[in-house]
């Protein structure tokens, strides 16, 4: 019959994602120090901290309101490149949830796709440019393929998760075109993009949360 993700479920996902991100502090900071300016973890961690503080409130909202609120918090608390990108992503995703009570399989794919489009347009960036897009884009593509091919939800969600993780991994060999890694002589080749890694954490956690609902 498929999953129904409620705003409460999504708030729980936020709590879970926060725990993972929080835990990976040193690692992510190291990644952003190697090719960027070292602040990516501080900012995204702070953003999730604020989201967790607001989680009880988020639970009570419609998913539309919830996504709008998350977007607003992320934009203003995270700051930097990621803040405005995630903010835009959530605001765009919210639009796909207007009047919805829960998030079901196709909606979730639309949510992620809306996020991808928003990030690409706000960041003026393409897949393959060594950014967070390189985790999100393959995940969305995979999701779309699964729906097209009517892959069962469980398999689908696991594949999306893996696609996000592999996508983040694939940034290692890419040359940066956007973001601070472009300033390096070798365009960051040999290093993972921190934004892609934290994106993969979020997608993976989200898929795990949904899988639990099946």
């Amino acid at each position: 019959m498929g999953f129904h993700l409620t705003s409460k479920d999504y708030a729980n996902y936020i709590r879970k994602a926060y725990r993972l991100i929080h835990e990976k502090g040193d690692y992510i900071t190291e990644l952003d120090s190697a090719t960027g300016d070292g602040d990516h973890w501080i900012n995204i961690n702070m953003g999730f901290e604020k989201l967790v503080e607001a989680a009880n409130e988020l639970e009570e909202m419609t998913v539309f309101e919830e996504f709008k609120k998350i977007g607003t918090i992320m934009m203003s608390v995270i700051g930097g490149s990621s803040g405005v990108l995630y903010g835009s992503a959530y605001l765009a995703a919210a639009k796909t949830l207007k009047e919805k009570e829960t998030i079901q399989n196709e909606n979730l794919c639309e949510v992620l796709d809306a996020m991808l489009q928003a990030i690409m347009s706000r960041g003026n960036a393409q897949p393959g440019w060594k950014t967070m897009i390189d985790s999100l884009a393959p995940a969305v593509q995979c999701y779309k393929d699964c729906i097209l091919n009517q892959v069962d939800e469980k398999t689908c969600l696991s594949r999306v998760k893996q696609a996000a993780i592999d996508g983040a991994e694939s940034t290692k060999d890419m040359e940066a075109v956007r973001g601070r890694a472009t300033y390096q002589a070798n365009k960051g080749v040999g290093h993972l993009d921190p934004g892609a890694v934290t994106m993969s954490y979020q997608i993976a956690t989200l898929m795990d949360c949904v899988l639990e609902k099946l």
Binding site: S33, D37, N43, S76, V77, G79, G80, V84, G87, Y183
Partner: protein
């Protein structure tokens, strides 16, 4: 990590509170981390900002003859659009607002979004993007050159133009003329430590320096051994002169410290730069030596040249009175 702070998450707001207390002519807007002139004047508003960690930039350049407001993000992180909009709406006097942005993806995106939102409120907003760092290859494909210490000259020029009562387009044109004529190149000797991270983001050997390192500790273009002041002057200046033709012109020179470099060393470097410029018959019209655009506690320096015409000279000489720069 030894820093005179209370809590890493509070450094920006406490710093700005301190600025407001030290400089009664400036006003701090809590939460939104905006520092602005208390007296709003009837002219084009010039605002700037970016991540914290570059003090006195940008808050230190708020005041008569330079900025009307500065918006501060977290350390090394672009401020979010809501903060930028606060500065725009607060300082707009109906003549429009010029935003001076340093060329970083984050700043471009956040200031860009703020501009879009302000325009929805019928506020005229224009922006210019400073990209003076010749360590980075210019490119229309990628983000391109970073904005570094030369940004301070752009603040000065745009601020002075705005004070004359010029229109938004005229102020923008003056800022763009400055940007066209500015090039910078830097060198770092030690890393910097983000308060919230607590340890340096990278390491440099006992005798190593990094040429072309950015003001956020982004890796540079070449790691080499420590050079003499004379050699350092040559390396930095050569890179600038290869990029832009300053020959037979008059320039403004800035020798900027990144935060932990003693003033004595900056003047020693400046002395060498002056000798080299004289040899090349580039005439220095005005010299600035000091910590203008820093990178937390990094030690190192940058050199900036701005080619001057009569208009830029006049605007550079115009009085300004800010915590970070006073002229006249």
């Amino acid at each position: 990590m030894k820093k005179i702070i209370n809590e890493p998450t509070k450094v920006v707001s406490e710093f700005l509170k301190g600025m407001e207390k030290a400089h009664p002519e400036l006003e701090y807007t809590e939460k939104l981390e905006v520092l602005s002139r208390r007296e709003k004047s009837d002219k084009v508003a010039v605002i700037s900002g970016g991540g914290a960690g570059h003090e006195p930039a940008h808050a230190g350049y708020v005041g008569m003859g330079m900025l009307d407001a500065a918006v501060t993000g977290n350390v090394f992180s672009s401020p979010s659009p809501d903060r930028i909009i606060e500065a725009i709406t607060k300082m707009n006097a109906g003549k429009g607002v010029l935003m001076i942005i340093k060329n970083y993806s984050g700043d471009i995106m956040n200031f860009g979004l703020a501009k879009d939102l302000a325009e929805l409120e019928d506020i005229q907003v224009e922006s210019v993007v400073v990209r003076d760092d010749v360590a980075v290859k210019d490119s229309t494909y990628s983000t391109g050159r970073r904005g570094i210490a030369g940004t301070v000259f752009v603040h000065k020029i745009a601020g002075a133009k705005a004070e004359t009562g010029a229109s938004l387009q005229e102020v923008k044109a003056a800022a763009e003329k400055a940007i066209e004529n500015i090039r910078s190149m830097g060198m770092a000797m030690t890393p910097c430590t983000l308060p919230a991270v607590g340890k340096p983001g990278f390491l440099l050997g006992e005798d190593e320096v990094e040429i072309g390192m950015g003001i956020h500790g982004e890796p540079g273009v070449m790691r080499t051994t420590m050079k003499t002041a004379q050699e350092t002057a040559e390396i930095l200046l050569d890179k600038i002169l290869q990029d832009y033709d300053y020959s037979n012109s008059e320039v403004a020179l800035m020798v900027n410290g990144l935060g932990a470099t003693p003033l004595m060393e900056l003047y020693i470097l400046e002395n060498e730069i002056q000798t080299l410029l004289e040899e090349k018959q580039i005439k220095v019209y005005k010299t600035f030596v000091g910590n203008y655009m820093t990178a937390l506690d990094m030690s190192g320096c940058s050199v900036t040249l701005m080619k001057l015409d009569e208009e830029l000279k006049k605007l550079l000489d115009a009085p300004c009175n800010t915590p970070g720069l006073k002229i006249g």
